[in-house]
């Protein structure tokens, strides 16, 4: 934006203070749109956020991007300091972990596809536990016989694992290159990429009203 350059340093400092306060006050990541709404209309929130991010880069608290949103989080290297205070998060079973990974890397994915990939039929409890964590959600229904529910990951998943987007999942490019993200064997020509986009895919229908 052009008018940014015309702003006085004092204005810019004030806008940074405002962003600082907003982000600091919230435990949840905030979208740029949310922040822009609360700042004067001529403010380039994106550029201010980058400035704030670099100002906090070496500090005990960092400004991080999560799922297209921004949040202050304690620096990773200081976890030893805070861990004693933290409640030990319950450990997921191996089955749940594997299922979570399959959902993350293959989303949108149906229960049958998860079972196909893991090579085992799955107890209902596993998906329930994952839904309970808030890390996966029912996205829609696959437009195929039986209209099975499709699953995908949530913003809370990205937040919890410190990912900006599902595109940042570890090893994703490698897996994609090896064709290991294909659900069907042998591999399709098209290489699928996981997507947690709120938009349904071409082969997905929305969930029924009472399922949401």
């Amino acid at each position: 934006m052009n008018n940014v350059t015309s702003l006085s340093p004092e204005d810019r400092r004030q806008h940074l203070r405002m962003l600082e306060a907003l982000l600091f006050a919230s435990a949840e990541p905030l979208s740029e749109a949310f922040m822009a709404e609360r700042l004067p209309s001529d403010v380039d929130v994106g550029s201010l956020l980058r400035e704030l991010q670099s100002a906090y880069a070496g500090r005990g608290v960092n400004l991080v991007r999560v799922a297209e949103k921004w949040a202050f989080r304690t620096a990773e290297d200081l976890s030893f300091l805070l861990a004693p205070e933290a409640v030990e998060p319950r450990r997921l079973s191996r089955a749940a972990l594997e299922t979570l990974a399959v959902v993350a890397y293959h989303q949108p994915v149906t229960r049958a596809e998860i079972e196909e990939i893991r090579g085992v039929s799955m107890s209902k409890g596993v998906l329930d536990v994952l839904l309970e964590t808030g890390w996966i959600r029912m996205r829609g229904r696959r437009r195929s016989p039986g209209r099975p529910v499709t699953y995908g990951t949530t913003e809370a998943f990205l937040d919890h694992f410190g990912l900006e987007a599902v595109g940042d999942l570890p090893g994703l490019e490698e897996l994609k290159g090896a064709g290991l993200l294909d659900i069907n064997v042998p591999a399709d020509l098209a290489i699928p990429v996981p997507s947690d986009s709120a938009d349904l895919r071409g082969d997905e229908d929305p969930l029924d009203e009472d399922e949401r």
């Binding site: 990773e76 089955a95 085992v120 290991l180």
Partner: protein, 279 residues
Amino acid sequence: MGVGEEEDAAWGAEPERSAADPTLLVDVDGFEGPLGLLLELARTQKVDLTKISILALSEQYLRFIEEARRLRLEIAADYLVMAAWLAYLKSKLLLPAGDDPEEPSAEEMAAALAFRLRRLEAMRDAAARLMNRDRLGRDVFARGMPEALDTVRRTEYEADLYELLSAYAIQRQRTCVRRVSVRQRDVWSLEEARQVLARLVGMADDWTSLQEYLVAYLARPEERATAIASTFSASLEMVREGKVELRQADAFAPLYVRRRQTPRQGDEPGADTPGKGKP
């Protein structure tokens, strides 16, 4: 102990595992499923999964299942289906390739299985890498004392000058009209006059001037005309009903009224003029 569907408890400690575990009985108790079991077996081959011998792996799996059956372990259907399929694959791998173009070749089937194993392994690695990330609430922490980002709703009233003025004009006009109607009450209605008359006639038995009766009740001279007119009309009505009698000596002479003295006999047709002309 049984080889079956994974347990319902999705939370729980991961079982300690090791590829070098001498006894696979530990794995029978695991929740991995037949593909997971195959993966475990493949790891004991200690080769790259892309170079694994599916034939050798199949034989290993079938031996494992036979051993489990010999020990009379309950084996879930998933494992038996896999065993049957692997037995079929093994026989195809050992026989020369058939000519049926519809059916996938043994090599293709083996490659598909190898792919599935690699994919499962990739997912396991991915899960491990995911869990090793700096996790919120374990390695990094959110604001401990969040301050509410609530919106305070405030009402702002709206009105414009036109509304204000018309509201004023309408109510002033309305109260004007109300005052006019108060004056209108100065006009005696027939009903009012009738009530007054009925009450007053009851006070005296003898002939009384209608004027006299009324004068006592008329505070203001300007009401006299309407009072006389209404009372007269009312009195005629009451005469017709046989309740009072009227008398007048001459035209414009005072009009006298009294309560009807003699009850009427039955329904006389001429009942509406009984008072008239009785001196």
